[in-house]
């Protein structure tokens, strides 16, 4: 990757300009000389600047103002919005809930996904047949491909206190007063987390299954000959071997957990009493419900900074562990 660009530009510049032009026109000696590729970047870069770059900067600009949106006047307030955030209970609540979202979308699904993947790969794939394993895998993955909003709406009904399927079933088996799952502050967050776990499980399962296929079976055979049981093999071989995939899952799912919006919108709208409020929904609420555009922009900006910091920390940890491994090997 680094050798080619280091040598080619010097060749390029050392050739006389006429020769270069001749080469480009096609009469001279043809060499593979990268240049003028910028042309191909123009559409991508222009579109990127227009749709992501400028809005991103504008959003920061908005966050420095008090503004009710639309044609109302914008008043410069500097960092006041950010200062207000520091004393805003709802803001802190939303980030506390983000931790729960990470537990529901990263930690629990990764652990369950790893167990399911080894179960499918080590037992079911080998003792029954591959078809059973792949049908099961597809079943676990199903919630992942559906529009998350639609899956959320289905769950919203299932968990509904009056007409919902769950409480109807509970009534049927003689439970008099089943909880209002999404309507009670103490059960809403666990219920939302359960739905998120259900949505999320398939992703680590599928990735871990392919990771396990990558591991050299001879490692297991050798360990088995040495008398290592399943758990010992799992810890000594499987876990270290699938580290790259574990890292990718942790990184992508953590980012997704910090960004989560649609399930909250269709399940609880952040309620009741803010018990399931998350930063992205809080920002949406300020933008379009409370007409506090500057404040909403500040929430979104803080969320962005936190995502980038968290992602960088995970990346850093991964780099360090990879380096340690290299030194150890």
């Amino acid at each position: 990757m680094s050798s080619a660009p280091a040598t080619l530009p010097t060749q390029d510049s050392s050739a006389p300009p006429t020769a270069r032009r001749a080469a480009r026109r096609g009469s001279g000696r043809r060499r593979w000389v990268p240049s003028t590729y910028w042309l191909y970047l123009i559409p991508g870069l222009a579109a990127f600047v227009a749709i992501i770059g400028i809005p991103f900067v504008l959003n920061i600009w908005y966050s420095l103002h008090k503004w009710r949106g639309g044609i109302t006047t914008m008043t410069w307030v500097g960092l006041d919005n950010y200062a207000d955030l520091m004393h805003d209970d709802q803001f802190w609540q939303s980030f506390r809930n983000s931790v729960w979202m990470i537990i529901a979308m990263v930690i629990i699904p990764t652990v369950i996904g790893l167990l399911l993947a080894s179960l499918l790969f080590d037992y079911i794939g080998k003792h029954f047949n591959g078809r059973v394993a792949s049908v099961l895998r597809a079943t676990y993955y199903l919630p992942q491909i559906l529009p998350v909003a639609v899956a959320g709406i289905l769950w919203n009904w299932i968990l509904n206190a009056q007409t919902g399927a769950l409480n109807q079933i509970l009534h049927g088996i003689g439970i008099e007063n089943p909880p209002d799952w999404l309507g009670n502050p103490s059960t809403a967050l666990p219920s939302v987390m359960l739905v998120l776990i259900w949505i999320q499980i398939g992703y680590p399962t599928v990735i871990f299954m392919s990771a396990l296929q990558r591991v050299d079976p001879e490692l297991y055979e050798a360990a088995e000959l040495d008398g290592a049981n399943w758990w010992a093999r799992f810890r000594a071989i499987t876990l270290p071997q699938i580290k790259p995939e574990t890292f990718v899952i942790t990184l992508t799912c953590t980012i997704a957990a910090l960004k989560v919006f649609a399930p909250i919108y269709v399940l609880t709208r952040g309620g009741p009493e803010g018990s399931t409020l998350v930063p992205s929904y809080y920002s949406y609420l300020n933008f379009f419900d409370k007409s506090k555009v500057g404040y909403g922009a500040a929430v979104a900006t803080v969320l962005t900074v936190i995502i980038i910091v968290v992602a960088s920390v995970i990346q850093l940890l991964q780099n360090r562990s990879a380096r340690k491994e290299e030194r150890g090997a």
Partner: protein, 302 residues
Amino acid sequence: MAAVTETLPGAPANGTGTDTGERRGRDRFHRGPLRWVLLVVAAIVALLMIAPFVIMLLNTFKSPDDYSAHGPLSWPHEFYTHGLKVFWDRVDFPVKLWNSIWTSGLVAIFGVALSLLSAFAIGIGRVRGRLWLVGVFLLANMLPQEVLIYPLFRMMQNIGLNNSGWSIVLIFTVIQAAFGTYLLSSVLGTFPRALLEAASLDGANRWQILWRVVFPVVRPTLSVLLIFFFIWTWNEFFIPLVMLTTNDTQTVPIALASLQGDRMLDVPTLNAGTLVSLIPTLIFFLFFQRTLTRGITAGAVK
């Protein structure tokens, strides 16, 4: 091999090698009832995963009276399709379906094209500052959409594309291409140089190299990207929710969500809506299952 021996359990041993091989395999792996227990565990998890869908199916075709009398788990007493009809007419489903199809389809095509052009410059052209570029594209993937929504909302208003599917096409083409460029750049970074030089010697210009050499080689990757861009855009919720405000422009997930607050909505109608909204993705999934699985796993392993 394993499949062949399993299909012939009653047949006399057709080859001693296979027979003993199979028996030895069975002995080695036979660990009493444990394997059945584990199979049951896996099956129970699978059952929990599809239980919501089963409940949805049962109650789509059950009349409201039947539901309140016999609960969600009973088999429908009569095949009730009124809920389906009510949902279909009320949200004008074909319109929503078409909105989802054309916006997601265009995003997929434009997104892949844009990714390929940019990645050609970065991965093959190795333009200066490419590491920075890749970094910026990577960072863009982490941005929460909330940080773009208000400026985008106003921009689209100014150019008259608010409440239009074209706003979705524009925005998501760029968002998906940010990911596509990042991914394709690293794929093209390992493109065999010999191929490029050979094409160059044959007198191909940049455009011809991109179109006749690079494109055919990376076509499998591009098709995976195409399918993913389509599904991702189809499933998008936040930006379409903000941008598409009227019935004639909304996409499938938004249509269902906007029905949700309706107090008049009965159980079969809601379930019918969920079912109908899920079917297109389900068909798409079954159709492209192999490509999807390949893509999900290819993305994870570097």
